[in-house]
Symmetry: D2
């Protein structure tokens, strides 16, 4: 039987993502709304082990809804991966009379929360925060929409110089295992080709695609490459390949890097974060545990953490086709 919840903790863990602060704010204010206490945990699971807690009232989160990053900071905790570490964390939590935990992050974060729940029967609820959108149980993770806009803005800028000089640009975007960012920004940025981890396009098709694109009258081209594309070459090797095997291309490489993680969250991410915070807290108050909140068909839904972790998101094949048609 779940005991009455009087005090919740919230933490952010793993890579930061725009919208995490908006989610923290929502968790804190929903607690205030229901007259329960809320504490913020510093540096993810590290802070849980260290008992690095700070009481947060409704006013303490003012002015953060539009800030990138996370005011609670984030870190990877090796210690929390040990039984001893988690034991320490549980003791800290018990001493502070905390009755439940909202963990904002990606699958590493959720794995930690799930094990913690299993070992100590402690109520946990996950909020998916990662720009990669690689979590099953939500059509959008926090930060994904913002990152898309950040990347598209950068591609727009690069296209200015690509067009002025009739150049071919390879642009690397984030996505080690998934191509969601690459696929969307590729379409939105008007890319001639998109290389993603889910699909082995093969070098031959890339070459063919560039040749066709040139024949159709394009003088400059952009190819979007996900970090983890399957074509078997990193982005600089791709450049070398084209330099050595294709004539008449002036090839450049741009690796967009960490700026993709930052910035003021988009309206979409702020609203989503606000909704998720409410849902996470109220689900814990209703006695639920071990779930992740997510957006499914425009509604807030719960998915068991285990399913969220083990699942693998799929590439929208319709988008691949749209990209093909658009780059005619």
């Amino acid at each position: 039987m779940s005991k009455v919840i009087k005090k919740l903790a919230v933490l952010t863990s793993g890579g930061d993502a725009p919208g995490m602060n908006a989610a923290i704010r929502s968790v804190v204010r929903t607690c205030a709304y229901h007259n329960i206490e809320c504490v913020g945990v510093q540096r993810g699971y590290e802070g849980l082990i260290d008992g690095d807690f700070k009481v947060m009232d409704a006013r303490s989160v003012r002015g953060i809804i539009n800030k990138g990053g996370t005011i609670l900071k984030s870190a990877r905790s090796a210690e929390f991966r040990t039984k001893e570490g988690r034991q320490k964390a549980f003791e800290m939590i018990s001493k502070a009379n905390i009755d439940g935990l909202v963990a904002i992050g990606g699958d590493g974060t959720f794995t930690g929360a799930m094990i913690f729940n299993e070992e100590f029967d402690f109520p946990v609820m996950g909020i998916p925060g990662t720009i990669d959108n690689d979590i099953v149980g939500t059509t959008h993770t926090l930060g994904f929409d913002t990152a898309l806009n950040t990347v598209v803005d950068a591609i727009d800028k690069i296209r200015d110089t690509a067009s002025s000089h009739d150049r071919l640009f390879f642009i690397e975007v984030m996505g080690r295992d998934v191509g969601h960012i690459a696929l969307n920004v590729g379409i939105a940025g008007g890319a001639e080709e998109i290389l993603i981890p889910e699909e082995d396009l093969g070098l031959d098709r890339l070459v063919e695609s560039l040749n066709r694109s040139r024949k159709s009258g394009k003088t400059s081209s952009i190819v979007v490459v996900a970090e983890g594309d399957k074509i078997g070459k990193n982005i600089f090797e791709l450049k070398d390949y084209v330099d050595q095997n294709m004539e008449g291309y002036d090839v450049r490489v741009s690796v967009l890097g960490h700026m993709q993680r930052g910035g003021a969250p988009s309206c979409f991410d702020r609203v989503l974060a606000s909704r998720m915070g409410v849902k996470a807290v109220e689900s814990l108050l209703e006695g639920k545990s071990n779930y992740m909140v997510g957006l499914i068909n425009s509604k807030m839904e719960l998915t068991p953490l285990e399913k969220a972790i083990k699942g693998k998101t799929k590439i929208n094949l319709e988008l691949l086709r749209v990209s093909d048609i658009m780059s005619i």
Copy 2:
């Protein structure tokens, strides 16, 4: 029996919205992909009547995916609302051997298309383009997501000065009949109260809400007001009311106006526009007519134009509640 389609026309009509150019591009390139001709019609139905057509090939739409407004221009046509006007349009269309029409716009645009289809059995397909998101049959109209980000960015700026001077701001956003923009930007902008046409909050509650907000320690506040809110006063009357009936407020008004319609479309709107253009053209090629393409549960779906026009979108009550909780 539907005849084989060899040539399509595309037009934009009604208020412009970011993403219209991306949709035009998509229609044009999807036609090229399927080896059918495409002509752009200038100034909406006016251009249909005047036969103001321009052949568009795949290269003619380069560099427009990130441009606000519409390269085909838009206008309201009184003449097309007459039988004679539509007859002229049909003659022009016939003379130009056009076999189908993609109409991008809002419900006025769709009404025109539907009547035209009824009268001449001419294949038409609608793409919802309006920042107001007031069309049934799609969770997002083109331009809505971009407008949300534009407005939130403006509210962020106004909040800087509101906080510095401990002021109360009434900010008017677009939405004559619907509060979708107001509701989303209100949450994302951290508004204390949101006034929308769908809900008669009443002045009393506004006053109460502001008083509560002040008691909770807030020194500056933002109230987002949809153009068409039901509270019975325009935004300047609201200011006067507070000036005369509440003490200690330094009230300012900001009407965001037409800038809400412009700007480079967001990644979301560009991808949506690209998908809608493909779906619209391919649906016509499959012999379908008199539908609007839309986004439902992340998929491209068709809705009869009649239903799209007659339906009324509903406010998401969950969002209203989230707004209430967030403004504690």
Copy 3:
């Protein structure tokens, strides 16, 4: 003889402007660099009277260089305009062992500082912070450059919709007594005409200019109007005039309003603020008083407060001419 300075105060007063926080940060860190104490005064001269001081060390200003508004808040103080008010302020300052004051703001702020200096022989130094750029002794006030970019971005958005609908837009920008913003954004926004307080263009010339513009093939037009233009009509009366006296125009009005004051400061304003803060503190440390720091010919220079207040900035006539040529 000036006594040794061991502790400085900094305040912001009057309308807020982007870059004020960067200037506060610079004042605080320059104090730390020279091992003197620094206190922040809340709400401008109000806080001086109330003794609302907060010690600020180098770390206390982290993360504010890119924030609009002012963390010290700003207010107009009626009490400081009285001898009694200033006497109270001086007592508070003496009690807190403050040896000098950096006042960030516009001419109202400087007038207060100058009188305070005269009455109590208290060292003061001014930093010009206002988006209007209406202060003599600096080519750029803090916030001016940022406001220009904010306004130009809004005009770009409005132009999208103006072009799509072949409309004439009157856009009102800030500048009650000076047309610096209007003149620069008018050129940068491609306006057909610019109405500023310094120049009485007369309605006739506006009409003529619009007619010429139309004849030259322009179908949409933008006229930028400074709040305080001399043409004798407010912006809505201008619209009515054109509606009633000119044919074939679809006229709209947009008043940009308070969003012009907010937003993250531009690189230029951040660097300028950093330089001004250093110069202001070091000038006080050198025993100087009653000056404003400013940018003249790319260098930091001092101007007596009296001259800064009494002077009147002049419109750059070259810019007026450039605007004329560009709108051919």
Copy 4:
């Protein structure tokens, strides 16, 4: 004696920069204003040799003032560096009855123009367009201000993630021979240290600076590195050095790359471009030749091309000092 000018040509050459289109627009419209013809030359000096000219009237440059890149395209021309190439160009120019040339670009562009002028006594005028700000005779080259804002915006985003994870970031910005971008964005981005080509800081000082920064309580840090810094290591070697020689840093690298060249020009760059275009054309009309137009002490001034090319811009030592103080 200079002959009467009836027709001018304009080209862009070298690396593109935001504001080049605004300058082209200004050249074209100033020609129209003075009733002389104007032709645009495609792809810089390549187009001069090929006779790739296009007549441009006032309307042909509408809607480009806010576009990055250059509609005339840019290229480096090996052929124009030969006497034969320049001879061909002169023949093309003579055949087309062109009486003078406005060349927009950097010192390579100006060198070409100067030699061309010497060999054929052909009137030329330069407009400095490069984001690097490395041209003597103007305090600002076209594109410099825009690039600063683009880079600062990226640094703001990276700081979000740096702060959330307590990381040290090395950020590489453009500037092969000069540190103007690095110095300004370093101050504006709140960098702890700035490495520029003009100053050999030495690794020791960097290490010392980072250690001091850490002791002062900073948990995250940003070091801005110009491409061509003198410290003798590229940015990845810097990372390795810190990884191997300093404890407790989580170091990341971000190379901002080509996006720094693109984007809508800032208000400042649009106004500057407009002024420069007017000045360039009118100077040619006045019979002047072989100069570059520039901004000196807020005024348009002419500098002999030779001086512009041979001179070396100097780092503003005051800025270096401000940076030092700010990073306390």
